[in-house]
Subunit: 331 residues, 2 copies
């Protein structure tokens, strides 16, 4: 199956009536570059490099789409979209320090390039500039949504550290971690778009619910892909989570199906080859298929939820396309 | 000279007409304890420990005093005071990771106790909860002030890392670092108090200027104390900044006065005994006296600025007392 890229999704959104979206995303990029630039004698190259290295810009896209075609408050909308991406980047920079990851999207991570000290400070800078950007033009509800999400992010990070190397973690606890680590920022992105567009509270909450479900599915599929590979598509070894001690749904489900697998001590898996073998074994139990199916079910429910919302036609189509792109992701 | 404690200053403030201040500070403490508690399955002991270990609570005090006796918006005021302290604590937790510091206020640092991973996440959590707390009840201008200050904090941290081990750094650049790292959060504390009390913009700006000057003097004296000791008073060796490669005003001034001292490579100072000897030598040049005198001059100017402000009498006396406590600090 061909991999659907962020560009493909964007083209589809344009064809579905979102002709203004690429231009807005371009403005978000410009704003991000500006926000990550150094000021006076303070150099901030690592911050700029992180942002420039890009990514799918999934969260800014959700901010823009949730606001619909009501772009009268464009500077506020751009700020909200940029702020969400800055927070996402900040967490990546800190995560890479925590995980000791050498590469991110094929380029050396901030800490690998500049040391742990600079990376922690760079993450803090991105984090602070996100709030500064948003407060400079934004509404208090949007700042509230973002800060609620960042609190959840940090809690999710703590939960992940506390649960590391513990394969007996429950599905519920795993799902809570995904919600805190990923879903809440997706939720905030959608809420913020709605808040900037001054939608009614119920509508903002419903859009937030859509984002939250999408984020949860996104994380589940991320965890599936880490086990499923293949490396040729993802650009990294299978089973990096196993080597980190991060216990995800495929492993949890596989342990319930294969008592021999359940008896394996995670700490004995220390090489990419051992991780690869473990991934094969997890796949053999059908746990990957079930994990993916759970994620797709969540996406389907999120899409059904959209049907009940009083959205513009083009907006509904665009949000559906983003949901499809999450469901289709393979890398 | 007897050391003046935070309690002494508070008693003086009460006698000067600020009878409501200790009770408000008590509410801030309660709020801080609540904000740092774990939520559900997410444990957050390190965050709570950090806050419980205390400190002078200088920044929350400034928030309360800047608001004067207009405490009608008490929940907002408590939130603002708690938020500033959470940010301060977050930076301490991250700083300790960056500096590899084992002890803080006599207790093991978060990272020394729980590892670097948990410490970075704990700092992020404190940081996020600060904004969440403030946005839950606060005004947008207050959130703006706080986020501007946290951006400055991170920039100051980056600047410090960039200038580490470079003794040729200029006085201007050193002062900029102090401003970014310390003065801006003091400024934000005063602004936020004024914002919560709905003071006029000029008055808020003037209070902010007072806080900024106070913060600058605070950092200068902090750096003086690191060189001056004595260990019996400060509870740590003299010259920890030298061992960290952090170049401060006493060293900068001493280098200009003693070419022999200027020729010393900082990286050759690796033991507490060598640091102690270097501190003696810096002191011998008169650089400590001059550094302290610069700080006291800044405090005096800040106090003169207060005279021109239309403040309540008790409020003016209280802010003067805080300024005196900064000038008097010896540890």
């Amino acid at each position: 199956m061909a991999v659907r890229s962020a560009e493909d999704t964007l083209s589809e959104i344009v064809r579905a009536g979102g002709a203004h979206v690429p231009q807005l995303l371009g403005l978000v990029e410009e704003r991000l570059a500006l926000l990550c630039a150094g000021h006076g004698p303070v150099l901030a190259e690592p911050a700029g490099d992180t942002i420039a290295a890009g990514g799918k810009r999934m969260r800014p896209l959700l901010v823009l789409l949730a606001a619909g075609s009501r772009t009268a408050r464009e500077p506020e909308l751009i700020a909200a979209a940029a702020a969400v991406e800055l927070i996402h980047s900040a967490t990546l920079v800190h995560d890479d320090v925590l995980d000791g990851a050498q590469l991110r999207r094929g380029v050396p991570t901030v800490w690998a390039q500049s040391g742990r000290e600079l990376a922690v400070a760079t993450g803090d800078l991105l984090f602070s500039r996100a709030f500064y950007e948003l407060t400079a033009v934004g509404s208090l509800p949007a700042v509230r949504s973002l800060s609620r999400a960042t609190s959840a992010l940090a809690e999710g990070e703590l939960l992940q550290r506390q649960d590391a190397w513990n394969p007996a973690v429950s599905v519920e606890r795993y799902l809570l971690r995904c919600e805190l680590k990923t879903a809440r920022l997706f939720e905030a992105a959608c809420e913020m778009g709605g808040q900037v567009a001054r939608l009614r509270d119920e509508q903002i909450a419903a859009l937030g619910g859509f984002g939250r479900a999408l984020g949860l599915a996104f994380q589940l599929l991320d965890d599936v892909i880490d086990v499923a590979g293949p490396a040729s598509l993802t650009g990294k070894h299978r089973g990096t989570d196993l080597l980190d001690g991060t216990v995800t749904l495929p492993l949890i489900l596989a342990r319930a199906r294969d008592t021999g697998l359940a008896a394996i001590d995670l700490r004995t898996i220390t090489t990419p080859e051992q991780a690869e073998a473990m991934c094969e074994r997890i796949e053999g139990t059908g746990a990957l298929r079930e994990s993916r199916s759970r994620a797709l079910q969540i996406v389907a429910e999120a899409k059904r939820g959209l049907d009940e919302l009083p959205l513009e036609d083009a907006q509904r189509r665009a949000l559906n396309l983003v949901a499809d792109s999450v469901a289709d992701r393979r890398a």
